[in-house]
Amino acid sequence: MLKRSSYSGDPLREMQRLHSEVNRVFQSALPSGPANFPPMNVYATADGVAITSELPGVAEDELEISVHRDTLTLTGERKDPVDSEESSEKSFHRRERGRGHFSRTLSLPFPVDSESVEANLKDGVLHLSLQRPESDKPKRIQVKRG
């Protein structure tokens, strides 16, 4: 049997495979935060993808979003509360919140137009809207009567 690629035929499974693969490669290469921050939800239509992500404590100017073809990368920093408190004497009773640098890469099901990315960060929730380029959209072909 001729093996053309490892594509399983299931786009969802394929995306998850790519996603974990990309995460694995990048996490091993970069010294960054936990592999699963920020958590992302991906929604799709024929025209594009919408992504929501929970990023509590990340300011707009501390978040970098980059899109290259079908790869989305979120990079940023979560401040350590130790640095923001002015008092010199401090101790933690609980320290559960994540902190520090994070970087996460997600493979999208298709290439997107990096010019038409819309991003909105509000109340710790990021909304991303990514459009499929016109040239890449599936076209409906009219069948003419013979």
Partner: protein, 149 residues
């Protein structure tokens, strides 16, 4: 064709598990003892509690919560923070891949008495709730006379 979203089955299994820094899955609700105002399960926000000379600073990650949706209640020494969160999933789109769920946030803490309960302040910014609890002025030491019987 619509596909049912696959959810991470393992994420919410062990409610007794201590928060793990490497694994940032959402924490399950604290207990069944509370009385939620909505019959919806809640998540327990991750918190940092920092003690300074001035008092305690409590910071809670509550993405999706707004200053209007946050409720802070103090009853006896029990401090409860909660927030109603509206689902922010885009309408009319099919879920392709889901890593987190959206639920209301709720968590309770028991405070010691050394805080000035009147001066508790709270702010909500970028999905993080910060509650500042100033220390009460030091109580005067009382000397109790022991009288001879």
């Amino acid at each position: 064709m619509t596909r049912r979203p696959k959810k991470n089955q393992e994420a919410y299994q062990d409610p007794k598990a201590e928060p793990d820094e490497q694994d940032e899955q959402k924490l399950p609700a604290e207990s069944d003892g509370g009385e939620p105002t909505r019959s919806r399960p809640t998540f327990r926000p991750r918190v940092d509690i920092l003690e300074t000379q001035a008092g305690l600073v409590l910071m809670a990650d509550m993405p999706g919560a707004t200053p209007e949706s946050v409720e802070i209640m103090l009853e006896q020494r029990q401090l409860t923070i909660r927030a109603d969160v509206e689902d922010h999933a885009p309408e009319g789109m099919s879920a392709l891949y889901l890593e987190y769920e959206v639920r209301d946030w709720e968590r309770s803490f028991t405070l010691s008495r050394e805080f000035d309960m009147e001066k508790i302040e709270a702010t909500m910014k970028e999905g993080v709730l910060t509650v500042t609890l100033p220390k009460a002025p030091e109580m005067e030491a009382k000397r109790i006379q022991v009288s001879a019987a």
